[in-house]
Amino acid sequence: MTTAPAPAATLGSEVTVDRLSVNYGDFTALRDVSLTVPAGTTTALVGESGSGKSTLALAAGRILPPGAAISGGSVTVGDTELTALTGKALREARGHTAAYLAQDASAALNPVIRVGKQIAEVHQVRCGASRAEAAELARQGLADVGIPDPDRVARLYPGALSGGMRQRVIIAIALAFRPQLLIADEPTTALDVTVQADILALVSRLQQQCGLTVIWITHDMSVVAELADHVAVLYGGRLVEHTDVLTLFEGARHPYTQALLTCFQSGRTAGPKQPFTTISGSPPVAGPPGGCPFHPRCPQADGRCGTELPVPRRVGHDHTAACHRLEETP
């Protein structure tokens, strides 16, 4: 605590994902995904279940479960190539270079360890803080994420907290080490709407304070609109469209992105008893079909889409899409 902390704005780093592929045994969950997240900005990863967005998050945080392996490509945060690290260097990068914010805070906290201890542990083990110092840092961490009466809460077990409070604790754990990159895996899905809004506001505030770079996984377009600077749309383990958030809502080019947005709009504007618009069919489970992964469900697919894989193409400033029929669609 003697050295002055570095200026907050320099904390975030540019994140580069380069042709990343991840395999679960024989099954390829993520194929050749490349994207860049500018320092201090938020990129939302969007897609249905099974699109590979959580796999990308776990791979970028280097916390893939046993059985899953990065089979190609790299993830670089600032100067650190995360995917090249092993052993002790990898452990040290976790929580520091890249921190992971889990989806379900009720399950992500250890039920038999007091909340304060779960945060203090990071300081104790990673920075050699004494028990008292670590407890004070944990208390501070709880206060930073807007928990009232942090002294009392620190002594509670997770079971005694509400869902929103647990999510705040998870955020405090993820940010305990002032990471450069925060990977948030649908952290608000399990919360009700008002609590979700609080959490989104909290993350935005912390991001501005620390200049965090954020990768936010979600399937909720309203969260995208609220939080993201850029959006990457994944389907069947591939990146199908990548653009800034305004272009996404006004000029999405990939048929899948357009379909997602139509569903979202219909959900917002549909009157009573009016059916929601859905995308017919379901996302690939056992592995995407040959050609474009979306072609079985795509209203515009032709013969070529079933055989030949479209590569991501530049369709505008900061805007790529992977579709054979970009010229024909508006």
Binding site: I63, A102, G159
Partner: protein
């Protein structure tokens, strides 16, 4: 918490009372004449009548029940037919030997099963050898294993005495027998709850904090398996303390179990029912202690209904 403990104690007392009533009913309905088994086949009708009078066997059932309940409540479990001594003092005499065996067996199965389960949980591949040993031990009758060990380590390789009695050297084989029989249960519970913990979301959080695997296992995983293991220990303590009949008989270990078998062959009803009542009290107490211990270990258990 105090309320919860009080409720548990009350429920336990009711359970023991129910067992006492049950033993009375069994004594009442089981055929055979206790007076005859005390006095022997050559006893005269006068002697039989006198004994029946002493035991109040000719009283109406409600009078017998009242007398039985009031003496049990006063700690009088009756007098043994076969050696004419108070049942309670006979049981208390045997309890230290049984408790020593129970403690030793518990240590064996906990250490063996715990290490075994942890090893299996931390290994990615399943070991066929261990799986076979596991099923083998689970399906082997306890007397087969007991005699096998006795044959191997008492007779073929005379490492341990086979003449029966108590003492540390004589404790080894019965404790190992019980421990080996119990270890697969511990191994399975430890392995399964550890695997569940290792694949849990909170372990992923621990990994993302940058903790070492050793610390994750010792601080985050083991604490979560303490609760199911405690439950298992509680069950075993109760079973072992109430007398392990076969093992004590095989190794001539002078504990409650051996006394039970003897009481059974002698048709010594007060002694048999006495051991059953003491066993019930021990099981209830062990359950209560486990419950309290689990509440101390696991905050989730503390909020369960009594």
């Amino acid at each position: 918490m105090a309320r919860r403990i009080a409720v548990r104690i009350l429920l336990g007392a009711f359970t023991v009372l129910a067992v006492v009533l049950l033993t009375f009913v069994l004594q009442y309905v089981v055929p055979g004449d206790p007076a005859r088994s005390i006095a022997g086949p050559k006893a005269t009708p006068e002697v039989l009548k006198e004994i029946r009078g002493q035991l109040r066997l000719d009283d109406p059932w409600w009078s017998q029940l009242g007398h039985y309940l009031s003496s049990v409540l006063q700690g009088d479990l009756g007098t043994s037919y076969s050696n004419d001594r108070p049942v309670l003092s006979l049981i208390l005499e045997r309890l230290p030997a049984t408790a020593a065996l129970a403690a030793a067996a518990l240590v064996v199965e906990l250490v063996l099963g715990g290490l075994w389960g942890m090893w299996e949980a931390l290994r990615p591949k399943r070991s066929w050898l261990l799986a076979t040993v596991n099923v083998g031990l689970l399906s082997m009758p306890v007397f087969s294993l007991g005699f096998l060990l006795l044959l191997l380590f008492g007779y073929q390789l005379p490492v341990f005495p086979i003449d029966g009695g108590s003492g540390p050297a004589r404790l080894v084989l019965p404790a190992v027998t019980l421990g080996l029989m119990g270890s697969p249960y511990y191994a399975n519970v430890v392995r399964d709850s550890m695997r569940e913990a290792l694949s849990s979301s909170y372990v992923r959080t621990a990994v993302s904090k940058g903790l070492s695997r050793r610390r994750i296992v010792s601080r985050h995983v083991l604490r979560n398996i303490a609760s199911p293991v405690t439950t298992l220990i509680g069950m075993d303590v109760a079973v072992f303390l109430s007398g392990v009949v076969f093992v004590e008989k095989i190794f001539a270990w002078p504990g409650i179990g051996q006394m039970q078998t003897d009481a059974f062959t002698d048709l010594d009803r007060p002694l048999l029912t006495g051991t059953v009542i003491v066993a019930a009290a021990l099981v209830v107490t062990a359950n209560l202690l486990v419950d309290l211990l689990r509440s101390a270990i696991d905050p989730r258990a503390a909020s369960e209904a009594p």
